[in-house]
């Protein structure tokens, strides 16, 4: 909302929240707006072009479907829902209504990610061999509540009937990136989820690990934990000739160009002069991680993570009434993949992407 109030093309006419402190905060940010506690009253306002839906994912579908039915353009926070059926219903409603549909997958508008994808898709770095993603935090996700009755409303991330935990909150952002890099949708997923450190505090997993398999055999691993933040967040795309770290915005050539002839000669002289001569030794050399410092993916500084650009694009789409190509489809599959991963963990079995959720996009064809 802080981005929207600064944009001169936007007039915020309504703020809706059923939690009074947040409604008050929203109206302070947009003083000219009218306050509502029921979203249905907002949708009755014919002058409104578009809505931004930022509620728990378990409520996304009902509000999004009502908004499309009322002829509004929709920006919905990710994940689209906690049920695969609802995600399909939302996508179909978007197509049927012809209205704009944006989802809060800001990485698709992040200049660093766009440049990385240009490089990967150029083919200069060879085919993708593996994708590894992780998002590690050390947080309980719990927000303070003034009354225990409000706990489920405020701390919805922690409960199974309102959230899929790490999958819908974090994986949803990253799985789409892997799909974007591969230009393909994985058709198989297996995974393990567990509650290790925070079993007394929540219902959803605090530790997840999933493997998604693409049709060509490439695997995309996803790991996330809520009880150790050391490795932070990263998306690693391992190509034949280079490795990309998208969050760091760096890439590393597999073969490092050799040092100059002079430097190699000096090194030879130095090692022959000072190094001891081994009498015997192992022929095995440890496969330590490369110390290659790599190169920057985007050679200019950027601010933020693409959220501003994504919201600006939504505003432009409201004005031009043109849906950006494939944006809804990317978002659709980002949510479906995280929900399928969750299902694989819950049922402890390898899941195939169900035909009934396939839409016409990339390697998927809608099954009638």
């Amino acid at each position: 909302m802080s981005y929207l109030v600064k944009n001169p093309k936007v007039e915020i006419v309504a703020v809706c929240d059923n939690y009074m402190p947040n409604l008050k905060l929203g109206l302070e940010m947009a003083p000219k707006a009218k306050g509502y506690t029921d979203y249905r009253r907002v949708l009755e306002d014919k002058t409104i072009d578009g809505v931004v839906i930022a509620v728990p994912p378990s409520l996304h579908a009902q509000i999004t479907l009502a908004a499309f039915a009322a002829g509004k353009n929709v920006f919905c926070e990710k994940a689209l829902s906690i049920y695969m059926d609802e995600v399909l219903e939302m996508y179909n409603a978007h197509k049927a209504s012809g209205k704009i549909f944006f989802v809060g997958q800001q990485r698709v508008y992040d200049p660093r990610y766009i440049r990385a994808m240009e490089r990967i898709h150029s083919g200069d770095y060879g085919a993708i061999q593996s994708i590894r993603m992780n998002w590690d935090r050390n947080t309980d996700w719990r927000r303070p509540v003034s009354s225990p009755d409000l706990d489920r409303q405020i701390n919805w991330r922690l409960y199974k009937d309102t959230s899929r935990g790490l999958m819908t909150e974090l994986a949803c952002h990253q799985l789409g990136v892997g799909m974007w890099a591969m230009n393909s949708i994985p058709n198989q997923v297996m995974g393990v989820g567990s509650l290790i450190a925070r079993a007394k505090e929540r219902e959803v997993y605090d530790n997840v690990s999933c493997i998604y398999k693409f049709d060509n055999g490439v695997k995309m691993t996803y790991e996330s934990t809520n009880s150790n933040k050391f490795y932070g967040m990263e998306e690693r795309i391992l190509c034949e000739k280079a490795t990309f770290e998208l969050e760091k915005s760096r890439y590393y050539h597999e073969e490092i160009p050799p040092a100059s002839g002079l430097m190699q000669v000096m090194h030879d002289i130095e090692s022959k002069t000072f190094n001891s001569i081994p009498m015997a030794g192992s022929s095995w050399v440890p496969d330590s991680a490369s110390q290659n410092k790599g190169e920057v993916i985007l050679d200019r500084k950027t601010e933020g993570d693409g959220t501003k650009e994504l919201l600006e694009a939504y505003i432009e789409a409201n004005i031009t009434k043109k849906q950006p190509q494939y944006l809804a489809e990317e978002s659709y599959y980002s949510t479906q993949l995280c929900l399928l991963g969750h299902q694989a963990m819950e049922e402890e079995r390898i899941m195939q992407f169900p035909d009934k959720y396939k839409i016409n996009y990339l390697n998927h064809k809608k099954v009638v």
């Binding site: 050799p258 100059s260 002839g261 002079l262 430097m263 190699q264 000669v265 000096m266």
Partner: protein, 79 residues
């Protein structure tokens, strides 16, 4: 303050050692290009390193000569 006078002969000697150091550094650069089959443009791009190596070799010759001078002076004092 004492005036230090460097004779023409001393100057020529130091110039000689510097020229020898520079020649060795250039030869090392050429050897590197030939042995490791690197681009010939390195002959020019590596010139800053050639200068550094020249200074290093020259410094080594200074140290060696100082040691020889020191040892000689001890021997001469004893005899």
């Amino acid at each position: 303050m004492k005036e230090i006078i460097i004779s023409v002969q001393q100057q020529k000697r130091e110039m000689f050692f510097l020229a020898v150091s520079l020649t060795i550094a250039i030869i090392l650069n050429i050897l590197g290009i030939l042995i490791y089959e690197t681009p010939f443009t390195e002959f020019f791009t590596e010139l800053p390193y050639v200068v550094v190596i020249t200074m290093f070799i020259y410094a080594v010759t200074v140290v060696v000569r100082l040691i020889i001078h020191f040892v000689k002076s001890i021997i001469n004092k004893k005899s």
